[in-house]
Amino acid sequence: MADAALFEFLHTEMVAELGAHHSDPGPGVSAGVWGEKVGSGGGQKMSLSVLEGMGFRVGQALGERLPQETLAFREELDILKFLCRDLWVAVFQKQMDSLRTNHQGTYVLQDNSFPLLIRMASGLQYLEEAPKFLAFTCGLLRGTLCILGIKSLVTASVASLPTCKFQVVIQKT
């Protein structure tokens, strides 16, 4: 069946667009998502927030495809465990390596070998680049949580590749 590889390569191209240099389009014109010319009416360059937004939409769509019985979670913690197990396996073919919480709405999900960082050298060499490879996935988590009825803020941090931590902060309305 369809492969994680295709998604990974597409993700890489989308991230590459963040750093792509496009010639100045001229006055009154800005650059679109892939650097193309857009008139003054619209257009935003590929940015971390655009990546996060796309991840959010995909996370929502994935969440919508869940069978009904998995949606009958009793507790917030069950939902986070679901993200760490079922969602992560479905998207990255592995489970999250650890889940911690302060039991007050903050969760830290740690992946010791995050697949979207694996192709980059281990350690500290590409630390600066790492956030670009995490934005989409932060959105993905936020989107799936949204479908499961939870409003959240999701950020990610990397101390040393390929280990990364996703911080989920539940927003109480």
Binding site: M1, W34, G41
Partner: protein, 188 residues
């Protein structure tokens, strides 16, 4: 079915849609960029054409390694064999569908891949005035990049698309030439 088995099936289904969902989100984002811009709309198809093709090409150049590693397919002896491998192995492996190979040219250098649906745009709603053919150019780029890495220069293009109301989706593949290794200067 046990709960465990249910989980496995659902995981598989979710991961198989991840690529098409992501591509759909990307295309939707691009549509948003242009929805208020009349001047650019006229140029849109040309602009997108020029952007999706090279990105697809980059993907193809990497995908072929992944494909060769997973599939254990040997070297293809002719374009017909290549067509079969693309349709029956590669499409099946990455998109879960098997297009049919038809409409061979008399010279055997062109063929069509016929798909019942356009696999890339399951989750995209295209605005009326945009050609859906252009969004699918990513796939054409992938095919071109992948085949170039195995010494084949080809052209790939969508000639029919269910998204546009055609009965099927058809990709036309044309063999241009074999890519030989460069000879050192002075030996040509």
């Amino acid at each position: 079915m046990s709960r465990q088995a249910n989980r496995g099936t659902e995981s598989k289904k979710m991961s198989s849609e991840l690529f098409t969902l992501t591509y759909g989100a990307l295309v939707t984002q691009l549509c948003k960029d242009y929805e208020n811009d009349e001047d650019v709309n006229k140029q849109l198809d040309k602009i997108l054409f020029s952007h999706f093709l090279p990105r697809g090409y980059n993907i193809g150049v990497r995908l072929i390694e992944d494909f060769l590693a997973r599939s254990n397919v040997g070297r293809c002896h002719d374009f017909r064999e290549t067509a079969d491998v693309i349709a029956k192995v590669a499409f099946k492996m990455y998109l879960g569908i098997t297009p049919s190979v038809t409409n061979w040219s008399p010279a055997g250098d062109e063929f069509s891949l016929i798909l019942e649906n356009n696999p890339l745009v399951d989750f995209v709603e295209l605005p009326d005035n945009h050609s859906s053919l252009i969004y699918s150019n990513l796939l054409c780029g992938v095919l071109r990049g992948a085949l170039e890495m195995v010494q084949m220069a080809v052209e790939a293009k969508f000639v029919q698309d269910t998204l546009k109301g055609d009965g099927v989706t058809e990709i036309r593949m044309r063999f241009i030439r074999r890519i030989e290794d460069n000879l050192p200067a002075g030996e040509e």
